[in-house]
Symmetry: C2
Subunit: 110 residues, 2 copies
DNA sequence: TTATATACTTCGTGTGTCAAGGTATCTCTT
DNA sequence: AAGAGATACCTTGACACACGAAGTATATAA
């Protein structure tokens, strides 16, 4: 989409988990939601997105199931697990801490 | 040091440039300053640090010269170039933008 | 019928981080 | 005089995440 890319690295999982906190969703929709919420400033690359799903499922933080669409392409839905919710809380705290840390390191006066 | 690690990825260069905005410095000291400023929450691994220096010098954002220490280990000092200062301004803006973006994506209610 | 949107997947590559190892000098303690 | 610890730098190889590119398949709008 624009600038950002490497700066997000490491936050992908947190972002995905965050969206799943509300409700189950599937890859394509999750990405559209991200685009929407960031006013089209950001969108995950498909490969990144699906890699993250596999990683999160591997970690036991999400579970997946096929939707029962009668029409259109099949959708693989994801649910966040209790462990995933706990992980999200941790990751969010880490984000807050990291944010403060970086802010403390970057000088104001330019 | 603690938690953080992957979350910083991509901000290393910005942090180093930020410290060089004040004054010239050398690897070891830069790392100590980071540790100090973050209350020992964070410190770059040496390999990461020196890799970053090479990358930044390659990009023309910093220049290096040997200090004239009469005693103790030799020190390679780094100076930020005008291009480096311009880059820093950009990187800091990108950080602010990324920060807002991620904040907008992470739900409050847990 | 062609293009576009929806939807998922896999493979190979690149970049940044880091563990581990190395070199060398100085100071403080024993 | 020997040894430990701090200071200071450097290189190599491995790993993880992100991503470009390509492929599959269905539905709809032009």
């Amino acid at each position: 989409m624009s600038i950002t890319a490497d700066l997000i690295r490491g936050h992908t999982d947190t972002i995905i988990l965050s969206l799943l906190m509300h409700q189950d969703s599937y890859g394509y929709q999750i990405n559209k939601t991200i685009a929407e919420k960031t006013h089209n400033q950001y969108e995950l690359k498909e490969a990144t997105l699906y890699t993250a799903f596999r990683r999160l499922e591997q970690a036991g933080w999400i579970r997946s199931y096929w939707g029962d669409e009668q029409t259109g392409a099949r959708r693989r839905y994801y649910t966040i697990t209790p462990e995933g919710r706990a992980a999200y809380v941790r990751l969010k705290q880490e984000w807050e801490q990291t944010k403060r840390m970086i802010d403390g390191l970057l000088v104001e006066e330019v």
